[in-house]
């Protein structure tokens, strides 16, 4: 890995954000709106729901964590799409940068994009709703690692689709997370799902992450085995995502789609 090249590619995306105030605003706007929306819903449930009666902010914390996952995945996709939209794809893929360095650059830059969007929203939630994700304590770091790995995996799978099918796959990029959200049990316990779907849901890291989040906030118990399991599942998906990306890249070279991507 050549970190100067990873830095160069990251810099390209940071310049893009720094050069455009509307782009920066767009990054911050959506997470903030989410926080407001789920903040009020959370407040309503806290007052009126027996299940959530003693735990202010479980829904809002879930919303923040879900948004972190969503932003990580979308950031990865967006940076790849930027290369297609700007017709820079060929220049990038003929530059002396390894495929794994491109993946690393997109993965690391996605953290920055995600945090630019989410940190202001998280800070707003503290005075406005009295909710701080920091209440999760040290496990928060591990939950975020699991979410981030899974978000990047979804990004890798969508970009693999873009390599395979071209820009027409773009709509899937936006829909990918909404497809998995019902099975992720973000706002409700897994028992709500029919038994057949519970089996599928358990193969996703999201269920374990959000179950653990609820357990910490509502029961004040931390199960590190569950957290480890979620990171492990995320990591397995991540490795799978990288393999799919490589396979799509080889397939795109065979089909010749790299040379006219974006046209």
């Amino acid at each position: 890995m050549d970190f100067s090249k990873i830095y160069a590619l990251g810099l390209r995306h940071l310049y893009l954000i720094m050069n455009s105030f509307p782009r920066l605003l767009d990054l911050i706007y959506w997470p903030t709106v989410q926080i407001f929306l789920w903040g009020f819903i959370s407040k309503f449930f806290t007052i009126n729901s027996e299940y959530y009666s003693d735990t202010i902010g479980v829904i809002l914390t879930a919303a923040i964590l879900y948004d972190f996952l969503f932003r990580a995945s979308i950031s990865f996709n967006m940076m790849f799409l930027e290369e297609i939209w700007s017709r820079n794809f060929t220049n990038l893929f003929i530059a002396p940068i390894k495929i794994r360095e491109i993946i690393a650059a997109l993965t690391l830059t996605a953290v920055v994009r995600t945090l630019i969007g989410l940190v202001p929203a998280v800070l707003i939630a503290i005075p406005l709703f009295g909710v701080s994700v920091l209440k999760l304590g040290i496990p928060l770091i591990f939950l975020l690692i699991g979410l981030y790995l899974f978000g990047i995996t979804l990004g890798l799978l969508v970009t693999s689709g873009l390599l395979r099918y071209g820009p027409s796959f773009e709509n899937i990029a936006w829909a990918s997370l909404f497809f998995l959200a019902p099975l992720g049990c973000i706002y409700y316990p897994i028992e709500i799902l029919p038994m057949s779907l519970q089996v599928i849901a358990k193969t996703l890291p999201l269920v374990h992450i959000f179950e653990e989040m609820r357990s910490i906030l509502m029961n004040e118990t931390i199960n590190y085995m569950n957290i480890t399991k979620s990171i492990l599942i995320s990591f397995i998906y991540f490795v799978f995502g990288v393999l799919i990306f490589y396979a799509s890249y080889i397939g795109a070279k065979n089909r010749g789609t790299l040379i006219n991507m974006g046209e």
């Binding site: 310049y15 700007s86 017709r87 820079n88 220049n91 530059a95 002396p96 070279k253 006219n260």
Partner: protein, 243 residues
């Protein structure tokens, strides 16, 4: 010999885009790649750049198969410019050159950007966003990007397409001057026959995926009994002799 193409073919499903072509390019020569639209020029360039996987045949660089080089080692020695490939529009000219300079691992980046910007007269719009530039300005920036790493092998796909005669002449003169001062081997795909006659040491004519003729401009003009390369191109493009 720097580049040797041996029996190179490319199928897109059942469509044969490039059909067992053979040619070679000597070091520090400029070779024109000519042919009607859809004849396989872009696919050939794509295979040289490693963007398209050949179905069969070989690309040899200094006698070594292209596949045996490490991707980043060989791509360091190449570069490419085409008006159909752009640089990020929302980045300034300077930012774009900086990013590509870093990707190509240049040591003295500031100096290189400065030198090439002066040479190509792009300093006066250095801090403007690339998407706001005119076609001629974008073209010069694209050429600057393609020369930033001082490539040994430069692939140019219609470098003066859609440019006014003045800017087109500037680009051609610059390529000539650059080549006289640097060791560079150029493969130039173009539909502008005057440009090819002016810049190229030899040409390769393609049609329907095959190489149908090759030689110096003078040899081809004389062989086909025409008075210039444009007429020679038209004769070959319109001929029905098996192609």
């Amino acid at each position: 010999m720097l580049i040797k193409i041996k029996n190179l073919s490319k199928f897109y499903k059942k469509f044969l885009a490039v059909d067992k072509i053979n040619f070679h390019i000597e070091r520090n020569k400029t070779v024109g790649l000519l042919g009607p639209n859809g004849c396989g020029k872009t696919t050939t360039i794509g295979m040289l750049l490693g963007l398209v996987a050949p179905s069969s045949g070989e690309i040899l660089i200094e006698g070594k198969n292209l596949d045996l080089f490490k991707r980043d080692d060989i791509l360091k020695r190449f570069n490419f410019a085409s008006p159909y490939v752009e640089l990020p529009k929302k980045l300034t000219v300077k930012q774009n050159l900086e990013i590509y300079g870093r990707l190509y691992g240049l040591d003295n980046l500031e100096k290189r950007i400065n030198d090439i910007s002066i040479d190509l007269d792009i300093k006066n719009f250095y801090n403007r966003k690339t998407g706001e530039l005119s076609s001629g300005q974008k073209n010069r920036v694209s050429l600057a990007k393609s020369l930033i790493n001082k490539p040994e092998i430069l692939l140019l796909d219609e470098p003066t397409a859609s440019l006014d005669p003045d800017i087109g002449d500037f680009i051609r003169s610059y390529i000539q001057e650059y080549k006289s001062k640097n060791h560079v081997t150029i493969l130039l795909a173009s539909h502008n026959m005057n440009e090819v006659e002016r810049l190229c040491d030899s040409v390769i004519m393609m049609k329907k995926g095959k190489v149908i003729d090759q030689g110096t401009c003078e040899q081809l003009i004389s062989k086909h009994g025409r008075s210039n390369l444009e007429e020679t191109f038209l004769k070959l493009a319109r001929s029905k002799d098996g192609f």
